[in-house]
Symmetry: C2
Subunit: 99 residues, 2 copies
Amino acid sequence: MPKKAVARRAFDRALSKELEALIRDAKGRAAKIEEPSELWGLESWLTKRRREIDRRYDYRYSVLPLVFAHLLRDGRLTEDDLHGLGQGKLDLIRRASAL
Amino acid sequence: MPKKAVARRAFDRALSKELEALIRDAKGRAAKIEEPSELWGLESWLTKRRREIDRRYDYRYSVLPLVFAHLLRDGRLTEDDLHGLGQGKLDLIRRASAL
């Protein structure tokens, strides 16, 4: 598989898992709401999560190794997911993920 | 009951019913979410509803008759809820609610 396709697939997979977990979490929070303040808490939590995800899932090639390093560190990706990238890129990602 | 207490009770009752209905609605929407776009749709809907409610439930005395007129028109209050306000205020509220 071309390196770009490996990168795209790893990125899309991590994002999609992140969003699935977020939807589950949001449903759980919504189901437990009893007071208006908790409703507005859900709203501001969603806004915060959306901004975090927008910031974190940045597909520009210049920052992609750092994006992968974060996802690897946080367990959102495994090294297997990155199998097929160039060796230099992999080393960079591994080093950055250990920082 | 003093007129101010009547006004306060009617206002609080309408707001509290509005928020209860909103919570039910939000829970229903959240439970049906399957796609990330629907999650962000919930977030922006909550933001919009919060702003509408902030705007509508304005307890300044200068605007309170208009606030009650809107709530009466939309069925969030009945004339019974306003029983005990001065006759002039009631007439004003009734006239404004028919506009």
